[in-house]
């Protein structure tokens, strides 16, 4: 059946007749790739511009409408050898790149101004020690003011805005003392300049802004990098649906489906949206939705949920509008409750800021009063009080935590964990109980064939037959075919199996009755947690069990998590018979099976009531509310969309190690944050008394400020080297060096595998 592909939801129109599209491109690794892609596209008629961003692995194409279309472009790229995936940039990404540009501009202005004012300040300090006249000093002070005031007004924007927002919400954050400090330093300096005084603090105010902007920018850059990577992965996984229209079948991205659309789902494909079956019967594998591993029989009139896999027969379904009664609505309702009930944890930085702001402002006020009582003039008392504010500059404290966050997020990224939320590191560090979901979390997302005890010759034939089917069991068996080709002339009988003529005799692979087998049940067939696929050829038969396999390192990781003093629980939506053997193999004594989403939340609430901080690791739609209710949460990258959105972090690959790494890195990060805060406190304990007794000159303020900032930053970087050393020693095993290449080959392989298994079929593959 010829199908048309509709990519119009990815195409933007930039003016009359001009179209624009962004694509995530696979397999770009060198300069030659850039040239091949760009020249290959620009050769086509109608292409205005094609530019590949090598850092982001994304291609931006502009073309004239009507002369060429999006599908032709994607096909051309595939022909050149680079599978490309149209991409709808998330709004967050656009916001963040705007913010990054603003921060860079502010950083440029602050850097320029700080350097020039420092030039003038050094002259003044040198002049004060020798023979500078008052007129020259005033000139230099006025020049400094001329540079500093507009520069601070511009470069301070991010802080002023955030402080204003916090104050309006009657809260205190770190930006409030920063704003107060900068404003007071500038006002005082201006007053001192006007009254021909010796000291002015223009350089301190600008340096403060410059250092803080560096910290902010690095923090944002790290977050953008992880988000770009996650965005590319999401587009590689983008799913397509076959929409039935009046003029045949059209492939559309699932995001473009509307309620009421009729959709065709072939065997082996994922259900693209929630809906109701209007034609056909089949079995649905709902392991990603409910955690249940045994397929459910569905027929016309049944509800079916996005994310489940259609096992045997072709289905026609109608996309349902979000309405009451569906499982997804139940999950959404629980989600809202869970999020509302979650006490907002106060971030370490904000706690420090609250304490800092009160203590410092009180100290400054006390200093002024003390000097007044000691008989100083009002002017002197205020000048000394402001010097206290400047010298305790929030610099060290404001950098102490972001610096660690940048380093820790980078380390997490390298060990295969992508952070979703900003304060996840602190919360991950606090957990004392880890709750695992079973299906897709402790086990691999795709089942595998258990080939022990099966004649290799039979297995090879069965696997080659399996290559011709998209049924999930056949796909799992096909993995054992070791690059053999499928048999020619294979026929698939929907709902039964596949058959082909091998060595002159008919061979069958599929259900028991299809293979003509009686009731003789082999030992493996009595295994409760396996599904069986049958094979018969020339009188020889086999029943091959297909089962969920544990992630390769699950046992060691669980043991290591325990060794770190964390409790481990398994909460599954699957049957007890399926959960029990896995819990036994992992040596986990506390497990519960057959749980509904609400019951999962119930268990987590119970644990919370006992004072525990729970890390929930899960991938199913049924886990989403539990993820939201838990103190911290992790999801594998194969999780359903709604679940991924709830998780604090996602982990990549087949291994469970990233879970352990995430906790370990977060704990180290938190220890480092505390250490940095201590350093900042010690610095202030030394600097404040000096300031209170009125000994602080602008030179001392400048030295102390940059010294303390550099100290906390170096301390954070120290951890980076320590982590590098320990990951070399395999204490923190990096699953994949994802940091070096935005899309490393390993991750692509995961997706290609998914492709072959039919779970995530890409549109243009079919269109070709």
């Amino acid at each position: 059946m010829a199908e048309t592909v509709d990519l119009s939801s990815f195409v933007e129109h930039k003016g009359p007749g001009l179209a624009h599209m962004t694509l995530a491109v696979d397999g770009v690794g060198c300069a030659g790739c850039i040239r091949k892609i760009e020249s290959g596209l620009t050769k086509l008629p109608g292409i205005v511009d094609a530019r590949l961003n090598f850092t982001q692995r994304r291609l931006v194409v502009d073309w004239r409408d009507g002369e060429i279309d999006a599908v032709r472009i994607v096909k051309t790229l595939a022909e050149i050898g680079y599978p490309a995936h149209p991409f709808a940039p998330a709004r967050v990404e656009a916001d963040e790149s705007r913010q990054a540009r603003l921060l860079l501009r502010c950083l440029g202005v602050a850097g320029f101004a700080a350097m020039n004012v420092m030039l003038l300040s050094v002259s003044i300090w040198a002049g004060n020690a020798s023979d500078m006249t008052q007129v020259t000093r005033d000139l230099f002070h006025w020049l400094s003011a001329l540079i500093a005031l507009p520069a601070a007004a511009y470069a301070g924007q991010p802080f002023f805005q955030s402080a204003f927002r916090a104050l309006r919400a009657r809260e205190l954050n770190m930006d409030v003392p920063i704003t107060v400090g900068v404003t007071l330093a500038l006002t005082l300096s201006l007053y001192e300049t006007a009254t021909h005084a010796v000291h002015a603090y223009f350089d301190s105010a600008l340096m403060l802004l410059f250092f803080l902007l560096c910290g902010r920018y690095l923090d944002l850059a790290m977050r953008r990098k992880t988000r770009l990577f996650a965005g590319n992965l999401a587009s590689l996984k983008a799913e397509f649906a076959h929409r039935l229209g009046t003029n045949g079948v059209t492939q559309v991205p699932t995001s473009a489906l509307q309620p009421g659309d009729r959709v065709l789902v072939r065997p082996g494909e994922r259900i693209p949206a929630d809906g109701c079956i209007i034609e056909g019967t089949s079995e649905a594998d709902e392991s990603l939705v409910t955690g249940e591993t045994v397929p459910r029989a569905v027929e016309s009139g049944a509800m079916i949920y996005a994310g489940s896999v259609n096992c045997s027969g072709a289905l026609t379904m109608r996309v349902a509008a979000a309405g009451a009664g569906t499982l997804v609505d139940e999950v959404e309702r629980l989600l809202q409750k869970a999020t509302a009930g979650k006490s907002k944890t106060v971030r370490l930085a904000d706690r420090a800021a609250r304490l800092y702001a009160t203590v410092v402002h009180a100290t400054a006020a006390l200093t002024a009063m003390g000097w007044l009582m000691a008989g100083a003039s009002l002017h002197d008392a205020i000048v000394i009080a402001i010097a206290v504010l400047i010298v305790t500059c929030p610099c060290a404290i404001a950098l102490a935590i972001p610096a660690v966050q940048v380093v820790a997020a980078g380390q997490l990224f390298r060990s295969g964990v992508i952070l979703n939320s900003g304060d996840a590191i602190e919360r991950l560090a606090e957990v004392d109980t880890v709750v695992f979901d079973k299906t897709g979390t402790l086990t691999l997302p795709d089942p595998e064939a258990d080939v022990s005890g099966i004649d290799p010759d039979i297995l090879q034939r069965a696997a080659r037959l399996a290559l011709s089917s998209r049924h999930p069991l056949a796909v799992a068996l096909a993995g054992a075919a070791h690059e053999a080709a499928p048999y020619p002339g294979t026929v698939e009988e929907p709902g039964c199996g596949v058959r082909a003529v091998v060595d002159g005799r008919e061979a069958y692979l599929g259900s028991r009755s299809f293979c003509g087998l009686g009731g003789d049940v082999t030992a493996a067939a009595r295994d409760p947690d396996a599904s069986l696929i049958f094979f018969s050829h020339a009188g020889r038969t086999a029943a091959i069990p297909i089962r969920q396999t544990l992630r390769p390192d699950a046992k060691t990781v669980i043991a290591q998590i325990r060794a770190r003093g964390l409790d481990v629980l398994i909460l599954s939506g699957d049957r007890p018979e399926a959960v029990e053997p896995i819990a036994r193999r992992l040596d986990v004594s506390r497990w519960m099976a057959g749980l509904m989403p609400a019951e999962k939340i119930g268990v987590i609430e119970q644990l919370k009531a006992q004072g525990r901080r729970v890390l929930m690791v899960g991938d199913g739609l049924n886990d989403a509310p539990a993820l939201a209710a838990a103190h911290a949460s992790l999801s594998p990258i194969t999780a359903s969309h709604l679940t991924q959105a709830q998780a604090d972090a996602l982990f990549l690959g087949d291994r469970l190690m990233p879970v352990l790494n995430a906790v370990a890195i977060a704990r180290q990060g938190r220890a480092l944050m505390r250490q940095n805060l201590m350093l900042a406190v010690i610095y202030n304990a030394v600097a404040v008394p000096i300031a209170m007794f009125g000994f602080v000159t602008p030179l001392i303020a400048a030295l102390a400020m940059s010294g303390s900032s550099i100290l906390v930053t170096l301390n954070a970087l120290r951890a980076r080297f320590a982590w590098h050393a320990s990951s070399k020693a395999a204490a923190l095993e990096p699953t994949k060096r994802v940091g070096s290449a935005l899309l490393s080959r390993g991750d692509v392989k995961v997706d290609l595998k998914a492709d072959r298994e039919g779970n995530m079929k890409s549109g243009w593959e079919l269109a070709r």
Partner: protein, 49 residues
């Protein structure tokens, strides 16, 4: 001290030129693809044979 009359403006002007140049590089998107710039220099198909 008369030297200041032209040295100070000259210093400020130099700094300002640097700032304007930075703003221009930022606006023209030269930081959008840092790794790309490093590899794009390698192919020499722009050299006429």
């Amino acid at each position: 001290m008369n030297v200041l009359v032209y040295l100070v403006p000259a210093a400020l002007l130099l700094g300002l030129t640097g700032l304007i140049a930075f703003m221009w590089t930022l606006k023209s998107g030269q930081y959008d693809d840092l790794d790309g710039a490093a590899v794009r220099i390698l192919p020499d198909d722009d050299i006429e044979k």
